[in-house]
Amino acid sequence: MASTRTITTFAIPLIILVLATLSTMQPVRANVMTIYSNHQTWNICVASQSTSTNYLYSNAGPSSTTLWVVQVSIGLNGGDNTQYANWGFIIDPNDHASYFGAAIEWETNGGEIYGSTLSTSLDTSMYLILGINNQDSRSQCYNVLVTAMYY
């Protein structure tokens, strides 16, 4: 009998506690991630002391409010590694969600790949614009790798 009373003593408050916790929880909407593009690669060659600006994506994804995550990486493709370049990208021309990479000195840093990720909520479709400024005295090709997803 004593054990039954003990169980009742602990079980009833426990049930009340669980029910109370559940009732205070707010319902949330589960957002599913959609991969818009996965590791797409551009080969962009830029003349000496010139700038190349291109739409990588245009009018992409839903036009309603959407959270975007866009990752852009850049590396040398051929040529020599004595390169000095600026690069940057924006994912919304209206709201100026942008990343401007610091000038890259491949000659001092070696042949690494540099990248950055922008995340922003857009009221419109996504437009990814990439700019590369080659400050070197010789032309240079760059590999540009992009992955984009939205929620």
């Binding site: 962009i44 060659c45 003349a47 739409y55 994506y57 493709n77 051929g78 040529g79 240079q140 090709c141």
Partner: protein, 166 residues
């Protein structure tokens, strides 16, 4: 004595056949290398299926500002032009794409320009005679070498067949 001489001939012939087989094997290895592995290395500047290729050039002198290889959908393949610039799409000219990007890969994009009269993309290097270009080197590896190797294999096969039916 005759028996000994006959046995020696058989040994000599076996050795010859073994040498031929070894040479044949070596040629086969070279042929498979030439037709399989080497073109894969040489194909780095080849046009990629589904890609769109274009160049942006200055309208004043036809000099190339940028050459772009753009991946398939959903990528947009649209440059943002500055005043005085134009775009030329060259996807339908795969040989030109190959030569252009082979040069660009070697930091020689400056060798190319758009002829403003004919509206053609041309290489100044191809007009002048000079040392063998990287593009010709690629053609040498991807076409001539497999062809020579195949010819070698065919000749060897013919030789072995003739020896076997002597």
């Amino acid at each position: 004595m005759l028996q000994c001489s006959g046995y020696g001939n058989v040994l000599l012939r076996r050795r010859e056949m073994r040498n031929i087989a070894l040479i044949g094997l070596a040629i086969l290895i070279v042929a498979s290398l030439a037709t399989g592995i080497l073109p894969a290395f040489a194909a780095s500047t080849d046009p990629q299926p589904g890609y769109t290729y274009y160049v942006v050039y200055n309208q004043t002198d036809g000099s190339i500002v940028t050459a772009v290889g753009c991946p398939p959908y959903p990528a947009a393949c649209t440059p943002i032009l500055q005043p005085g610039q134009s775009v030329m799409y060259i996807t339908d000219q795969p040989l030109l794409v190959k030569q252009l990007f082979a040069d660009a890969h070697n930091a020689k994009l400056g060798n190319w320009h758009v002829n403003l009269q004919t509206h053609q993309l041309v290489s100044t290097a191809s007009v002048n005679s000079g040392p063998i270009s990287p593009v010709s080197g690629i053609a040498m590896i991807s076409i001539a070498l497999p062809a020579l190797a195949s010819l070698g294999v065919a000749m060897l096969g013919s030789f072995i067949w003739r020896r076997a039916h002597k």
